[in-house]
């Protein structure tokens, strides 16, 4: 394949996940009243980040197999 789509998907989720998680650590806890006092930025940021890593792993494995 010309471009493994898992590469950009992995990257965008690592990036957005990291941004959101870091924002979750630094933001004012007041704003989490909305999300039932759960720091949804931190937790969901981590989930998205891990999903991105998983996608990159899949892409890396595929490129090793074809190489």
């Amino acid at each position: 394949m010309k471009l493994d789509i898992r590469l950009p998907i992995g990257l965008i989720f690592i990036l957005i996940g990291a941004i959101i998680a870091i924002y979750g650590l630094t933001s004012n806890p007041e704003i989490y009243k909305r999300s039932l006092d759960i720091n949804i930025n931190l937790w969901w940021g981590i989930v998205m980040f891990l999903f991105g890593v998983f996608m990159l792993l899949l892409a890396w494995r595929a490129s090793r197999r074809s190489a």
Partner: protein
């Protein structure tokens, strides 16, 4: 409603998304060498990518907004649009129809009609489809711009311009491959962007049990969206109240729903609409093409949790507080605001940006799907067939680029038309409904009955379209005045409509049933009266009885075999129906 305030962090997320979407288009630009690369991705897309693009192209903004609104109005019965109105047809197109679409090497659905029937059948389908896709992409552009104006205070013109420019840029650069890759990216964004909303919403009403309890109160109160009382499970049981159209908020009975939605409308859309079929045609092998709709069926089956559930949560909260959802200009509850209200209510800055990005992604993927289908049908089925045949491939590749721009410009015009004249869009969608309803009968006979002729197919389609038009002109949904809702013919001639349906949806389902039956019978009768002009050799690969059976691909594992996968998917859909019966 109160506007949502986006913080700097939300704009950062949006910016990252736009950068990636454009980056993918830019990266793919250098691979667009031939028209096949541009329009068909060089038939090189693996099954799982084609499958996710298949479902993402179908998942327009209207679906996210509309299905959440239906979830509020009708509750879990909305799942019929998925577990009855999508999955069986998706399995059918993958297992039974894809061998002819992919095997015939047709480059589009209209081109299949030409190979199987004749020029006029193809022209009829190509022209109506091309016009329809441009209008759909214009309408989704309008819906999104209006929504962003309403909830974020963005400038309408700017929204139209920016979204059109981005979709144009990535399709112009990377053609169908770019559209497909972005659809896969958007698929994951939509899922991961809406999941926290569902999670928080469900938690706030006390989980699924809490939601069922709250919705049973809604169902027995006359103060619900339908305005009358039902049995307690009306919002949380998908089948239990379908014996009569008066017993459920959707206002349909099971036969009209199963035949109209589950058979005619659903098979007509999933099996013949080039917008989705194009994704499967781009797959890298026959077995990948067949697996494309089957792989797509798996997320499709689970989407109710993502799009219907927020609507059900919203109606529970609306009933509790009375002012959870905003009112529209007529003073009635505006169910189309369900998703934006939920986003504003539960998501703090940061994750809110991801949610808004998901909303935009759903819109962009739907719009790009329409544009890529449009430029292919225009270039291959109209331009190359009737305007300038016999040009070198480079010429058609350039045409593809030009028509992408033209298509987007037309879409913009349609978006503004939709903004100014609400009724024009309703009317157009109505007319397209008339043209589309009978289509599946033509394909069914074309693929499985070798005697079906070109004249039969063409006049069958015309007859079916006419039947849908007549049905609409002679019937009305309860409480509506003659006009765009129907009954205009009756008003013109006799005065009384022949039949009054409890709701508009029931009218649509039955219109589809009549159109399909008329097309089916007309095609058979006229085929028997006319001579088959296609020889046995010409029909090989296009008709079931003349096509060699596909052997199992030995390189695939057992669960990757299309038939096995299809059975698994169907069984899962049955289980879901039973769980939420």
């Amino acid at each position: 409603m109160q506007q949502i305030q986006l913080g700097a962090i939300d704009y950062v997320v949006l910016g990252v998304y736009f950068a990636f979407v454009l980056g993918i288009g830019f990266w793919l630009k250098r691979f667009m060498k031939t028209s096949t690369d541009f329009f068909l991705s060089g038939r090189s897309i693996p099954a799982w990518i084609a499958g996710l693009a298949f479902i993402s192209a179908n998942l327009g903004a209207q679906e996210v907004i509309g299905m959440a609104a239906s979830g509020a109005k009708y509750g879990i019965m909305t799942s019929h649009f998925y577990w009855v109105g999508a999955i069986p047809a998706m399995v059918f197109v993958g297992i039974f129809m894809m061998p002819f679409y992919y095997g015939s090497k047709a480059r589009s659905v209209p081109e299949y009609l030409k190979l199987r029937f004749d020029e006029k059948t193809r022209a009829f389908n190509a022209v109506s489809f091309a016009v329809m896709t441009v209008f759909s992409s214009g309408i989704s552009m309008h819906v999104l711009a209006k929504l962003l104006e309403q909830i974020l205070g963005f400038n309408y013109n700017l929204c139209i311009l920016v979204s059109a420019a981005i979709v144009l840029a990535y399709i112009f650069m990377g053609g169908l491959t770019s559209a497909i890759y972005n659809e896969v990216l958007q698929f994951f964004l939509i899922v991961l962007g809406f999941l926290p909303l569902v999670f928080l919403g469900l938690k706030s009403v006390g989980g699924w049990e809490g939601l069922v309890r709250k919705l049973s109160v809604v169902a027995v109160s006359p103060d619900n969206p339908a305005g009358k009382t039902f049995s307690a499970g009306a919002w949380t049981q998908s089948w239990a109240n379908m014996n009569s159209s008066a017993a459920n908020p959707m206002g349909v009975e099971w036969f009209g729903m199963v035949m109209g939605l589950g058979f005619v409308l659903s098979f007509g859309y999933w099996c013949t609409d080039f917008l989705v079929v194009q994704r499967a045609m781009a797959a890298d092998s026959m077995s990948a093409a067949r697996r494309t709709p089957l792989i797509a069926a798996i997320p499709k089956m689970l989407f109710p949790a993502l799009v219907i559930l927020p609507g059900m949560i919203a109606i529970a909260l609306q009933h509790q507080t009375g002012n959870f959802l905003p009112k529209d200009s007529n003073g009635s509850v505006d169910y189309n605001m369900t998703v934006p209200v939920m986003l504003a209510k539960f998501l703090p800055s940061g994750i809110l940006g991801v949610g808004i990005t998901a909303l935009m992604a759903s819109f962009m993927s739907g719009m790009a799907g329409n544009v890529t289908a449009f430029n292919t049908v225009w270039t291959y089925d109209i331009y190359q067939s009737y305007i300038r045949p016999g040009q070198p491939d480079r010429h058609y590749l350039r045409m593809g680029h030009i028509i992408t721009i033209v298509g987007i410009l037309f879409s913009i015009a349609c978006a503004y038309a939709a903004r100014s004249f609400d009724n024009i869009m309703d009317m157009l969608q109505l007319v397209f409904g008339f043209v589309n309803a009978p289509l599946f009968a033509t394909f069914l006979l074309g693929m499985f009955w070798r005697r079906a002729t070109g004249h039969g197919a063409f006049f069958g389609l015309l007859g079916g379209t006419l039947a849908a038009t007549l049905h609409h002109g002679l019937t009305l949904p309860a409480g509506a005045a003659a006009g765009i809702k129907g009954g205009w013919l009756a008003a013109l001639v006799a005065g009384n409509v022949l039949h009054t349906y409890p709701v508009e949806m029931a009218q649509n389902f039955w219109a589809a049933i009549y159109a399909w039956t008329t097309c089916f019978v007309t095609t058979i009768v006229i085929s028997l009266l006319t001579r088959q002009k296609r020889t046995v050799d010409q029909l090989r690969g296009l008709v079931y009885s003349l096509t060699p059976r596909i052997k199992d691909d030995k390189t695939l594992r057992w669960y990757q075999q299309p038939v096995t996968l299809g059975i698994i998917v169907l069984a899962a859909a049955v289980v879901l129906n039973i769980i939420f019966w």
